[in-house]
């Protein structure tokens, strides 16, 4: 992206606002998808995932919620990378790729744990797993 100096940037020394303005604030241009859209989506997704983790009774669904939270984090990662002034080569995407890989491994481990728990409790209802109750 070329850097342009606009009038709406009060403080030229601040790179971020300049970037911001550059991207979504041309005259006559419809506002395009800004960073906030990504972040709000990410937050929403995170919240939904958190809700799922906290609320659902089935251990597998809890893991699903954890995955959603993961993806929300990835999303915010990508968004932040996209709206950087000098987007380095693939930094965000590489980061996200690693994160997804780890999420996958973690999901596998988690599901293995769920299976082990199931063997013990004969159920996947997290409400029943209160052995560590103090």
């Amino acid at each position: 992206m070329e850097s342009r100096e606009g009038d709406s940037c009060p403080d030229k020394s601040r790179q971020e606002c300049c970037v911001y303005e550059r991207i979504g604030e041309r005259e006559g241009e419809l506002k395009m998808i800004g960073l906030e859209h990504y972040l709000i989506l990410s937050a929403l997704l995170f919240a939904i995932g958190l809700l799922g983790v906290v609320t659902r009774r089935n251990a597998v669904i809890v893991l699903l919620g954890v995955e959603i939270m993961f993806n929300a984090a990835n999303l915010s990662l990508v968004g932040f990378w996209r709206f950087r002034p000098d987007a380095l080569a693939m930094t965000g995407q590489m980061f996200t790729l690693f994160s997804i890989t780890i999420a996958a491994a973690e999901a596998a481990v988690g599901l293995a744990l769920v299976i082990a728990i199931y063997r013990h409790y004969k159920s996947v209802d997290v409400e029943e797993m209160t052995t560590l109750k103090g």
Partner: protein, 773 residues
Amino acid sequence: MRAIDYIWLIPLFPLVAAGLQAFLKRPQKRVSMFLSIAAMTAALVVSLWAFKDTLGGGHHDEPAKPNGKEMPAGSHAAEVRNGGAKLKPAPEYEELAKKSEHVTYRATHNFPWITMGAHDLKLGFVNDPMTAIMLVMVTFVGLMIFIFSTGYMGEDENATRFFCFLSLFAASMLGLVVSNNLLMLFMCWELVGLCSYLLIGFWYFKPSAAEAMKKAFITTRIGDIGFFIGILWLYAKSGTLLFYDNGAGILEDANVAKLAAENMSFFGVYMSVSSAIAICLFIGAMGKSAQFPLHVWLPDAMEGPTPVSALIHAATMVAAGVFMVGRMYPIFDASIVDGQLVHAMTQAHPHPTPALTFVMWVGAITAVFAATIGVAQNDVKRVLAYSTCSQLGFMMMGLGAVGFVAGMFHLITHAFFKALLFLGSGAVIHGCHHEQDMARMGGLKKLMPITFVVYLIGMLALVGAPLTSGFFSKDEILLAAFHTNRIVFAMGVFGAFLTAFYMTRQMYMVFAGEYRGGDLHGHDAHAHEKHGAQAGTPVPPDDGHGEHDKRDDHGHSHGGMPHEVPKHMWMPLAALAVFALLLGFLGTPFIGGNLWHHYLAPESAAHDVNWMVMGIATGAGLIGFLLSRAIYGKRAVLADGSDPLQSKLGGVWTLLNNKWYVDEIYGATVVRVNWICAALFRGVDASIDWTLHAISWVTIGISSIWRWVGDEFLINGGVDTVSEGVRGTGSGFSSVQSGKVQNYLRIVGWGAVGLVLVVLFLTREHWEHWLSK
């Protein structure tokens, strides 16, 4: 080598014997007997040595040495009687002293016992004629009695204990006699009282003996109160209790003069302090020597075995009172005349001091009183007991009538013939298989001839038949009384009459006629009981009846008839009889000018021979003998077993037989007062008890309240509440850890939200400008 240096051995030998005997076992009777007799023989030997020392007499001009130990070796040194006195002796004394060159021998050996700072409490031993003759008498008579006891008590199962007590008694009595300190005398006095207690109640399982032993001890103790007051008073006045101490002793002129010079009112009578102290001391002698009114224990003391009665209640212990009066005589007879110290006994025409008057009257009353009771007694030992009481009265009467030599002479002779009589009665009792009631005796003259002869000798001596020892001694006493107080003299004559009367009665009842007693077929001890109680004659308990049943049979194969006692029992009797006969010649004025007087107290005034008094005394005795023979000669006991005199005297007889009801009077007065006081104090004790219980109950109540409030409620409750609170809080908090991961996560989520809000709040200036856009 002087005996005084070894005189402490005399009481020591029997004391050691007693100590050894205490550890013997009951079957070791022969060992015990041997120890007693050996100790007594050794004591006798040393006593004879001491006696020999005193025979030489003292020397007038020997200067007094500071203490007895520095006497030059080989001399019979003695302190002059007036050593250290500042007062000039009375003129008559000087005359008498010129007459007799002899001063009595006196050696002392004093030693400090307890040192209290600068002041010493000294004890000591003394050897003078009075001591020496008493030593010889006690050891010799004691030895005879010990030998007799081997036969008499030989079969008693407790013979070992008997000889142990006998030895202890001998040690105490000998200690009393040699002591030079009033405190040591008192200690030995109490010890003889203790031994008397132990020996009277030797058969303690008999209730009558148990009563008698207590009665003896308590009655003499009552006398000892007066004695002790006298001792304390004397010590307070004199600062020492030694008798003879180179002029500083309490019996020496310096101190006696000081006591006699001070006058006071003693129970309303105006007299010198020396007399008042003497009366206090005499009260002790009244208890110990059974003078009226403290005589009540002596007849009951016959509960003890006969050797005990012979030794203690005839010869020695009861003589201790007389001996003590004799020992303290310088205090009794001291008075101040024209500013000078005068001893009444040195005067040719003696005037007794108030103390001596008191002694004389008490003695005279006792002599007559006891003799009247003796007339109406049926127990052979009781008659002798009252006779002893009466004779002690005579001795006191003699001493009180300023007849020091007479009284002491009678003491010695009486010891011999009374011991003889008691042992004779013991032989009689033993021979009659422990029968003591004279009504059931009789005819023993043929059956026990040796006993009869010696008993007769004793009886003659007691009665004062001419030329026996008792004759001379009693005559001296009556002579002294004649010169002092005619009424007392009359009482003494009456006493002599009664003495002859009851002794003759006893001789007839026991030895004359036919044998009345026992069961002629077989050894039936229980037959006595069947005779029942006769009017006015209480059946006396047999001498050791309970004991008798336990003993093994002594193998009498001749039915129940009395028999003569074995040789080792009548030999001592014979020895005593010899002395009873011959001892009198020491005190007669016809031979050698009254050796006894010369030996014992040469400075005392001797009365000239008075044939009238001698005649009256002998006449009284003769009348008594004849009267008794008239009543009892034909038949000593009437057909119904009662006394021939009883019907003649009637009520008087009952009075005499019941001892003038003195015991009953005491029981109703003194003993009752004692009971009331005891009940009163029991009540006090109970109320103290109740108070203590109440206090303890209140204390327990308070403590339990405090326990409930303080301990339970406050402390336990408080701690419990706090701990419960903590637990509750803890469990409340632990409920957070539900084990449900989702809950944890929820909380984490809320925490994260909170954190973000906090961060936003804290960094609001960075984004606040964006809000306005």
